[in-house]
């Protein structure tokens, strides 16, 4: 319990520091943000109005305090482009990204589980070698290039899937999947490679543990051991690593959504960057970081709860 308490407690300074960092983003813009946003011919009145809107007139502490007060209640400010609420903009885009992330994990699990188990069981044999080699390549193939290759193959060459035209899954599940499958594959492949390597080494480790050796000695056959002992125990660390993967995955989704022109969170961020819509960029960055912190917290807490062997000091962070 002490572990859980400490884990939750250490999140508080992280959140505080995160808020300071995200808040400071707008001040990273070289020069006067209002001037940069409005351009050199902006009238003094327009500049003053925008400064007031961005709260740039007050002292920096008051600005931070105001901003934080709004953020805490879910108000991320308004888009500089059309005045729409940033939280609403992000909220609108989340289902696409969520679906993509879930699909990516499903694909990763579907590939990684059989391969990881087989590789561990046939350790050192050609199957293991092939799986490991594929995983090494898989980890080195950037998802966005894989996405372009999949587009080339399945959309341009054999017209199997459309290259665009996203519809929400609740409107037309078939069409939705036909649009989403390629992006899911392009991010899923890499996640599968990472997961497979982790799964393999965790299973190998578990196979060396005493209780598994005992089971073996008792005459249980290999597959029963894998299923009953190794796999169950291997799941926890794999789940933990899965949580850690989220940050990498979110980053990868930004560019995958751009390639496949999906109206998700990532393409919103990219669009906002090119629109110089700094408040939306700021809001999106905050939401992405919060998602990562939250998921890792949940995973870590679960880990501590599920696995009593966890030692307080063992976690690096």
């Amino acid at each position: 319990m002490a572990y859980v308490a400490k884990r939750v407690l250490t999140t508080i300074p992280v959140l505080f520091i995160l808020s300071v960092m995200v808040f400071s983003l707008i001040h990273l813009i070289p020069g006067d943000p209002a001037q940069v946003i409005l351009g050199q011919d902006a009238t003094p009145a327009a500049l003053a109005a925008l400064r007031a809107k961005l709260g740039l007139n007050e002292n920096i502490l008051a600005q931070y305090w105001n901003w934080l007060g709004h953020v805490v209640v879910g108000n991320l400010g308004n888009s500089l482009l059309d005045g729409e609420s940033v939280s609403h903009l992000i909220f609108q885009r989340l289902p696409v990204t969520l679906e993509l992330a879930i699909g990516t994990f499903i694909i990763a699990l579907l590939i990684a589980f059989p391969l990881g188990i087989l590789a561990a069981v046939y350790r050192g044999r050609w199957l293991d070698g092939t799986a490991l080699f594929t995983a090494t390549i898989g980890i080195s193939v950037p998802p966005f290039w894989l996405g372009i290759l999949l587009l080339l193959l399945f959309t341009v060459k054999i017209h199997l899937f459309p290259s665009s035209g996203y519809v929400p899954i609740w409107q037309n599940p078939g069409r939705n999947l036909s649009v989403m499958i390629l992006p899911m594959l392009s991010t899923g492949f890499r996640e599968a490679a990472v997961l497979m390597r982790m799964l393999r080494s965790t299973i190998l480790e578990v196979l060396h543990e005493d209780y598994v050796r005992t089971a073996k000695a008792k005459g249980l056959n290999g597959w029963a051991i894998i299923v009953h002992h190794a796999l169950r125990n291997a799941l926890i660390p794999v789940m933990t690593m899965g949580g850690l993967q989220l940050a990498g995955l979110l980053g990868g989704l930004v560019i995958t959504e751009t390639i496949f022109s999906l109206p998700g969170f990532g393409s919103l961020l990219v669009q906002s960057v090119f629109s110089r819509d700094y408040t939306t960029v700021q809001g999106a960055a905050l939401v992405a970081a919060l998602a990562v912190i939250l998921v890792n917290l949940i995973v870590d807490v679960l880990y501590g709860v599920v696995d009593p062997r966890i030692r307080l000091g063992k976690k690096a962070s």
């Binding site: 250490t10 300074p13 992280v14 520091i17 995160l18 960092m21 983003l25 707008i26 990273l28 813009i29 070289p30 090494t136 390549i137 980890i139 080195s140 193939v141 950037p142 966005f144 290039w145 372009i148 290759l149 587009l151 080339l152 959309t155 341009v156 890499r190 996640e191 990472v194 080494s201 190998l204 690593m241 850690l244 993967q245 940050a247 990498g248 995955l249 979110l250 980053g251 990868g252 930004v254 560019i255 751009t258 390639i259 961020l269 990219v270 906002s272 960057v273 700094y278 960029v281 999106a284 960055a285 992405a288 970081a289 919060l290 990562v292 912190i293 890792n296 063992k314 690096a316 962070s317």
Partner: protein, 298 residues
């Protein structure tokens, strides 16, 4: 990107090893295929980056409107792009852009990350636990590419800012690696001995301990470089990294996406370079790791 994650598990595993004898290292070197393969690839990439101008058959920015979107020909071994620029020349130049950004970023990350990690790991305590490591946590909570994207957006597009943005993304990994090693080493006898002789803290930190922790750091830098290559390509693909006409594998892929039908070669060549470079650095990292810690063969 996710390339950087091994850091979270590495420190513990790395500690297990004690540096082994030279003889044994040379023996394992020959069997260490990852090191040999990765090292060769990295050498070739660095060679191409340094001598891009000398190796390139054409200027990478020379537009030839009578040779647009060509396939493999005698004049253009890897074809040409939508402005008639030689793809071979551009991927060579792309190697330079990629290495410039990645190594520059590594430098940024090291210059900040190493001292912070050393101090944090040496003194520990409140500062380490409640401030430095929490800042590191906060930076790490940004998905690497999103952090780079946001910073590039605020600082403005371009190679230099991409370098800074990626470098900041590296900091958490470097701090964690150095700190973890620092903690482990400071218990060792040679450190205690140095303390007894009354050496100053900074001497102990930088002259006694630091040289002993460079190998795991090199492993991390190598693995981070693999992530940096992808990050640079991603930023350039989005138009926030290398600015036209500068060649980058990422911006080449962006152009290629418009011609998948008529010139698929344009999408394949820079992508293959990208994969080979990432693979090379990943293998090299694994190889150095194995060399350092032969017990950990799996």
């Amino acid at each position: 990107m996710a390339m950087l994650e091994p850091s979270t598990e590495q420190p513990q595993t790395v500690l297990r090893a004690a540096p082994s004898a030279h003889r044994r290292r040379w023996h394992t070197l020959r069997k260490n295929r990852a090191l040999v393969g990765g090292g060769s690839i990295v050498f070739v990439i660095l060679f191409a980056a340094v001598f891009a101008n000398e190796l390139a058959p054409y200027s990478p920015n020379a537009q030839n409107y009578s040779a647009i979107l060509q396939g493999i020909t005698w004049q253009h071994w890897l074809g040409t792009d939508n402005l008639g620029r030689d793809t071979l020349a551009r991927v060579l130049m792309g190697a330079r852009t990629s290495m410039e950004v990645t190594l520059g970023a590594a430098l940024v990350g090291l210059v900040i990350g190493v001292p912070v990690g050393i101090i944090s790991g040496f003194y520990r305590g409140f500062l380490d636990d409640w401030l430095i490591m929490r800042i590191v946590d906060a930076i790490q909570s940004f998905p690497f590419l999103i952090l780079a994207l946001v910073l590039a957006a605020m600082l403005g597009p371009g190679i230099r800012n991409a370098m800074i943005a990626i470098g900041i993304g590296y900091i958490p990994v470097f701090v964690r690696t150095v700190r973890g090693q620092m903690i482990a080493e400071s218990e060792k006898e040679y450190v205690l001995a140095a303390r007894m002789t009354g050496a100053r803290d900074w001497r102990i930190m930088f002259l006694h301990i630091f040289p002993n922790i460079t190998t795991p750091l090199i492993v991390q830098v190598t693995l981070a470089a693999a992530g940096g290559i992808v990050a640079e390509a991603s930023l350039s693909y989005l138009g926030l990294g290398a600015q036209p006409p500068t060649a980058s594998w990422g911006s080449m892929l962006q152009v290629a996406q418009g011609y998948l039908n008529s010139a698929p070669l344009l999408a394949i060549v820079p992508g293959v370079c990208l994969v080979i470079a990432v693979l090379g650095f990943n293998l090299l990292g694994d190889g150095i790791q194995k060399l350092w810690d032969p017990k950990r063969t799996d």
